[in-house]
């Protein structure tokens, strides 16, 4: 979730009012953003991913102004026609969509430049999914010649000066030489042609998805008119991004001019700031919220959230793309109503609560074992491969994780490994160390939906100078007896145990686990120098 740092003075100027600090904090929180802190002249706020229009001072001030009743209703933005065109060549199939606009009569200072840089970056990270879905460019339009072409070319045949460089290079080299090229090269995997914006005098404006050209330049204090392009793989996404950017620039004092974007199959005008109309289902919304709002009340609340209203239809501002269903309108109405104003109620229904049987059974086993003075441990489910196989003198098929950041990157298939690790880590503590764990393990199984079967197991290890098979068998007998079960042990083999001192446990004619004295090689592998005996049983087989 992105955090933005906003300039408080600029924000308050746009808001049109200076609120006392506590009230400002409270209102921002109740609008639908996560306020981190307000310190000196900085407002640090975490914006929810579905509201990219709030990622700037202009956007947040616009929302807060209507929310606190200063400027309710749909904000109108004037758009004039520029008469210019952007021509989209069919070659840009790797990033087929673009929406563009001109904004004129701006005046930039350091602060405004900081603001547009922040929104470009934050918007591309969230709304643009880290440039994968879309990315945006703002260019001083003074030196540009229309129509502008959006066209894909072989990067080895184009030369230009990327932003920050003082010499022309072959475009392909941007991926290795330019910081943005290196950072986003993974997006261009498999491309032999790359999309470029090239003006009608063949000047390269930018190379997507990396960087503008140094010639077209950066926005600075002398810039008055700006060309905005939003390009990517989703038409709606780039349209909304453009709407967010141009309205922000308009709030900075600019005038919006639309362009014709000529696709091979159609021509569209961007930006299109006409609000979408959705019929309000007030019955549904009242039901969902537990309120009894009238049309008028609903209209007023919608106005607080920046919506328009026209004869039962809600007018959705063009910079919002999060209204998918009536429930989205319901939430905005609830926010406008004020979450603090809802009268809580308890639902008048009767149901009986119950714990799951396996959990109850596990708890019963816990109680029996602590009666034998065993100490319960609780371990992670993730382990290292050598802890499952090499250290236990086994060689079984184990289940790996694809991408673990830490060193534990396999799913445990037995509780013995984590229990042994506990003994190894506690050699400085008093003996006897008699421990148990009840937990889930993972085994390969083609017949399940995931290909993995999970089993609830009980593992017990007894560790002290005088421990032996008799002792662990006593624990097993005591446990089964308390559970009302009859079990028997059959001689068996298991490579983790001393041959001749290991058995397979049967309950109700089913094999449920193993019991025995651990092989000294296993103990040595773990660095344990005190004898260990143990057992592991599968719990769901027991009942």
């Amino acid at each position: 979730m992105p955090t933005v740092t906003l300039n408080k003075t600029v924000f308050e100027k746009l808001l049109g009012k200076s609120l006392p600090l506590e009230q400002l904090k409270d209102r921002i929180s109740m609008l639908g953003t996560d306020l981190e802190k307000i310190e000196e002249n900085k407002i640090e706020v975490e914006i929810f991913p579905n509201r990219p229009d709030l990622l700037s001072e202009q956007g947040l001030a616009r929302a807060l102004a209507s929310f606190i009743g200063l400027k309710p209703g749909l904000k109108e933005y004037k758009v004039k026609k520029s008469g210019y065109q952007v021509i989209v060549d069919k070659s840009v199939n790797m990033r087929p969509y673009t929406a563009c606009a001109l904004v004129k009569n701006l005046s930039f200072d350091d602060e405004k430049i900081r603001e547009i840089m922040q929104i470009q970056e934050k918007l591309a990270t969230t709304h643009g999914r880290n440039r994968k879905k879309s990315a945006y460019g703002l260019y001083p339009s003074k030196t540009l010649n229309f129509p502008i072409n959006y066209i894909a070319k072989d990067p080895n045949t184009i030369k230009f000066k990327p932003l920050g460089f003082d010499q022309e290079i072959i475009a392909k080299k941007v991926e290795s030489l330019h910081p943005k090229g290196r950072e986003y090269a993974h997006l261009a995997m498999g491309w032999d042609k790359y999309p470029f914006f090239i003006d009608s005098k063949n000047k390269v404006m930018c190379m997507l998805p990396y960087t503008n050209s140094e010639e077209t330049g950066k926005i600075d204090a002398t810039t008055k008119d700006v060309f905005v392009e939003c390009s990517g793989t989703d038409l709606n996404n780039v349209k909304v991004a453009l709407n967010i950017l141009v309205t922000m620039l308009a709030d900075m004092g600019g005038e919006i001019y639309s362009l014709e974007v000529v696709y091979p199959d159609k021509t569209i005008i961007t930006p299109n700031l006409t609000p979408e109309k959705i019929k309000l289902d007030l019955v549904y919304i009242n039901q969902r919220l537990g309120l009894k709002l009238t049309d008028k009340e609903a209209q007023q609340l919608l106005g607080k959230m920046g919506f328009g209203y026209d004869q039962g239809n809600v007018l959705i501002p063009s910079y919002r793309s999060d209204i998918l269903h009536q429930v989205d309108l319901a939430e905005d109405i609830a926010i406008a109503y004020g979450y603090e104003n809802f009268k809580e109620e308890l639902l008048d229904i009767f149901t009986i609560g119950e714990e799951n049987y396996l959990e109850k059974y596990s708890n019963l086993i816990r109680k029996i074992l602590i009666g034998l003075k065993l100490l319960e441990v609780k371990n992670y489910h993730l382990v290292r491969a050598d802890e499952l196989n090499e250290r236990m003198c086994l060689d079984q098929e184990i289940i790996p994780l694809k991408n673990a950041l830490g060193e534990y990157n396999y799913l445990r298939n037995s509780l013995f490994s984590t229990l042994m690790r506990n003994l190894k880590d506690n050699q400085h503590n008093e003996y006897p160390q008699n421990i148990f764990e009840i937990g889930d393990i993972f085994e390969p199984d083609r017949n399940t939906i995931t290909g993995i079967k999970e089993k609830r197991k009980l593992g017990i290890l007894l560790c002290h100078e005088k421990t032996d098979f008799t002792e662990i068998k006593q624990v097993l007998d005591c446990l089964l007896n308390s559970l009302g079960l009859k079990g028997l042990i059959k001689e068996s083999q298991h490579l983790s145990f001393i041959p001749g001192r290991v058995g397979e446990v049967y309950v109700n004619n089913r094999s449920v686990g193993y019991i025995g004295e651990f092989h000294p090689q296993v103990l040595m592998n773990w660095g344990i120098t005190v004898p260990v005996v143990g057992l592991e049983l599968e719990l769901s087989s027991l009942f």
Binding site: E345, I349, T351, K373, L401, T450
Partner: protein, 511 residues
């Protein structure tokens, strides 16, 4: 303290040792005469000191002892003695003399200097070094040298008790290899207090019962006898019970909160397909939470699982692509079934909600379910982050459930958890709308703390899974933080450190 009471508290060791203390002062001597082991005597002395019957002075003393050569020459003849016995009034060659006496150069050098200084010998340098009696020489044919006198003492000797002459001999012998070792020895000396002196003169050999035993009970031998009184105030060694792990105790407590409110437990696997963990919950396939750095994906042969019921898959696909069937716009992209097959370690307990909604399709309402269990996120371990954490969540499915009921349940739930003051703020989750963030007023820290999220499940989630658009309230606090607060743990790793000392000594969960 009254004498009788004092005597009744004396341990058998104390009774044994006390009488000797009138004569013996040194620990080693007391051990020798009492017949007890040193550790038993030390205990007795310490207990007696605690009872203010004596004062123990532990000193570090410097003590002189003979080393290997010193011990050897207690019996053997020192080189200088051999030389003196061979001397005459006439000069003779030292080398011939030493050859005859089989003395090494080292042995000669060790003593020749002193012999000259003390005028026991005369030396003359000619072709060889020549040696004869000095003015004092003949005296030492019958008299012992100071070194010889020193060596026949009995060791060890208290350094401070040496005379000046002894010190001189000591210094000389120290110069020779492996003759002397000077060590620091701890010595314990006892001084009786007046009270102690009084008691030491008494007859302490009463017939006192120490341990009550079966024999005594059967014979009645305890009658007419006194019981040794114990010091009931002293510390005794600790013992530890078997214990349920404290995290499990906390989990049990959370379960009672749910079951007391009428919720039934829902369970399911820790591994799930992305379908139920993400897609069925309307999380779009390009959502950042599905990225490799946040979620554990299974590897090797276990990368993909199977998609469930084909009809359900169709409905979820439609919901994502264009919202059809749910009255929504959907996310407007092409939904990829291969992406949905990818197995993950569940990132939230909400996956159980999606599976349960599907399994309960068509069941009678109202339905209330809760889950509590381990969830996973792809992190490296440090004091603030674990890759496994506990989550809990509850759902209420009822035709008449609405947002106000959600807030009502939340207030009630957090009150039961010990937070009577709660407030609500807007939040965002991909699968709920409206969504809520709950802050509670922390009674100890006296500040508002964010504790959990909640919301009403979106129709794009409920309709494909449950079959129709019915309100589903859902919520769940973060759980590990509550455990850490209760136990004053600041490093998350301590939750699963399994240090036995910590587990043995940690208090039980009681809320």
């Amino acid at each position: 303290m009254e004498i009788k009471a004092l005597i009744s508290k004396l341990h058998p060791f104390e009774r044994k040792v006390l009488p000797y203390l009138k004569q013996k002062k040194e620990l080693v001597e007391i051990v020798a005469v009492s017949g007890l082991q040193e550790i038993e005597v030390m205990r007795a002395l310490q207990w007696l000191e605690n009872k203010k019957l004596l004062i123990l002075i532990t000193e570090k003393k410097k003590v002189v002892n003979l080393d290997s050569n010193g011990l050897k020459y207690q019996k053997d003849i020192l080189p200088e003695r051999k030389i003196i016995n061979e001397l005459t009034e006439q000069f003779q060659s030292l080398s011939t003399l030493s050859h005859r006496l089989k003395l090494s150069l080292e042995e000669i050098n060790a003593c020749i200097g002193q012999l000259k200084q003390r005028m026991i010998i005369d030396l003359k340098k000619e072709k060889d070094l020549m040696i004869k009696f000095g003015p004092q020489g003949k005296k030492f044919l019958t008299e012992k040298t100071i070194e010889e006198k020193f060596l026949i003492k009995s060791f060890p000797i208290d350094y401070n008790s040496l005379s000046d002459v002894d010190r001189f001999a000591l210094d000389e012998l120290k110069k020779r290899k492996d003759f002397i070792k000077i060590e620091e020895v701890k010595s314990v000396t006892v001084t009786l207090t007046d009270l102690g002196k009084k008691l030491a003169s008494l007859d302490l050999t009463q017939d006192v019962v120490n341990r009550l035993n079966t024999g005594m009970l059967k014979t009645g031998d305890w009658k007419n006898k006194e019981f040794r009184a114990y010091d009931v105030e002293i510390n005794v060694p600790s013992i530890y019970p078997g214990k349920i792990h404290f995290v499990n105790q906390a989990i049990d407590y959370a379960k009672t909160i749910w079951t007391e409110m009428g919720f039934k437990e829902m369970t399911g696997g820790l591994v799930a397909t992305s379908f139920f963990n993400f897609d069925a919950l309307f999380v779009p396939q390009d959502h950042p939470a599905r990225e490799l750095q946040d979620t554990f994906y299974l590897g090797g042969k276990f990368e993909k699982g199977k998609l469930p019921d084909a009809d359900l898959v169709k409905k979820v696909k439609a919901a994502h692509e264009n919202g059809s069937g749910t009255k929504s716009k959907g996310w407007n992209y092409i939904w990829n079934p291969e992406e949905a097959k990818k197995n993950v370690l569940r990132t939230h307990t909400t996956v159980l909600t999606s599976q349960t909604l599907f399994n309960l399709k068509g069941e009678k309402l109202p339905i209330k379910r809760f889950a509590i269990g381990r969830c996973f996120r792809n992190e490296a371990l440090d004091w603030k982050h674990l890759f496994e954490f506990n989550q809990t969540e509850g759902i209420v499915i009822d035709e008449n459930a609405n947002f106000r009921h959600l807030l009502g349940y939340l207030k009630e739930f957090f009150k039961k958890m010990g937070y009577p003051q709660a407030r609500f703020r807007p939040a965002y989750f991909p699968y709920t709308e409206p969504s809520v963030e709950i802050d509670v007023f922390h009674p100890v820290r006296k500040e508002w703390v964010e504790l959990g999220g909640a919301g009403m499940l979106r129709p794009e989630v409920v309709i494909p899974l449950f079959g129709r658009d019915v309100p589903v309230l859902a919520w769940g606090p973060g759980f590990d933080r509550i455990i850490m607060e209760y136990y004053q743990i600041t490093d998350l790793r301590n939750l699963y450190q399994n240090d036995f000392k910590q587990l043995r000594e940690i208090k039980s969960w009681l809320k």
